[in-house]
Amino acid sequence: MTGIEIYLAIGVMALVNYFTRVFPFIFFIRKDPPSSIIFIERFFPAIIMVILIVYTLKDIEFAVYPYGLKEVSSVIFTAFLHLSIKNYLISIFGGTIFYMALIQYIN
């Protein structure tokens, strides 16, 4: 994307993002949300996190050497850091540095 397209995209994202935040203040100020909304609210965040993990890896060629092994091992490493040290920053940066090292130093 270039110039005007980027600003349009940013405008759309800004509007939609604000809409997601203001939504309950517009619609549920007097009445309770229906059960299907509560169901989505409760379980959709977990689903979208998994989808986003796969989405960020969509351009990896899993059929070609090294078969996405660098990505998969970095995901496992990040999860391991997070489960053992339980600090967001250490997990995110540790995982990223691990992946950058694999990409930049290993063929």
Binding site: M1, E5, I6, L8, A9, I10, G11, V12, M13, A14, V16, N17, Y18, T20, R21, V22, F23, P24, F25, F28, I29, P33, S36, F39, I40, E41, R42, F43, F44, P45, A46, I47, I48, M49, V50, I51, L52, I53, V54, Y55, T56, K58, E71, S74, V75, T78, A79, H82, Y88, L89, S91, I92, F93, G95, T96, Y99, M100, A101, L102, Q104
Partner: protein
């Protein structure tokens, strides 16, 4: 200053967010300029969008030349969780008058977590305390994003692989989701729908197709998920 006490309290509880936003914002700015986008998009995006995951995904949208409708739908689903934060704050924001639109805008994951975790101090003027907390957090985010972008556009880092910071962020959020939910079905549905879409759908349509398949599966298996 009239509201010094409110500002001090807001600052002291926002310190973890300060560290997190500076570092994550820096990674965002660096990633943005590593694709040769101009540095000033970082402050523009952090002022007007102000959403971590969405800003990272926005870089993918720019690269993929995604359509505006696709962007709107994907953005809505990426941040749909925010629509439910407000439900637990309807009463607390009720008397905030003119500040209310900004208080709502400032509701990121972290700001929401602080607001709902830290107990209210009854001696504080709440609406200004909430305002300072929202302003400070967004300020940290703007500083982080902008400094990453500026430094990234002048200093030549080897940024190959830096985009993994986004994957890592989602891995961490996914683990946190599991800890609070203790239910494997949503994760299975997410994995099945996205891997299916990854294999069979062109990559520019993959996100929206995964979301639609996941929603269908979710309602199909609703009884089992909710058991």
């Amino acid at each position: 200053m009239k509201y010094e006490k409110e500002l001090k309290k807001a600052f002291s509880i926002s310190i973890p967010v300060l560290m997190g936003y500076i570092v994550l914002g820096f990674a965002f700015g660096l990633l943005l300029t590593s694709f040769d986008y101009p540095w000033y998009l970082a402050p523009i995006m952090s002022i007007f969008i102000y959403a971590g995951a969405l800003q990272f995904v926005a870089i993918n949208f720019f690269n993929a030349k995604a359509g505006l409708i696709d962007i709107a739908i994907a953005s809505w689903f990426i941040n749909i969780r925010q629509s439910f934060y407000g439900l637990s704050l309807l009463k607390r924001f009720k008397n905030s008058g003119k500040l209310k639109p900004f208080l709502i805008f400032s509701l990121t994951d972290e700001t929401y977590a602080l607001l709902t975790t830290i107990k209210d101090d009854e001696t504080l003027n709440k609406k200004y305390y909430y305002l300072f907390l929202g302003l400070l957090n967004q300020f940290y985010w703007i500083i982080g994003c902008t400094s990453g972008a500026v430094i990234g556009s002048y200093v030549d880092f080897n940024t190959a692989g830096l985009e993994f910071s986004l994957t890592a962020l989602f891995v961490v959020l996914c683990i946190e989701q599991y800890k609070s939910l203790k239910n494997i079905y949503p994760f299975l549905i997410g994995a099945i729908s996205s891997i299916f879409a990854l294999i069979f759908i062109p990559s520019d349509k993959m996100l929206i197709v995964s979301i639609i398949i996941a929603l269908i599966m979710m309602f199909f298996f609703r009884k089992r998920i909710e058991k």
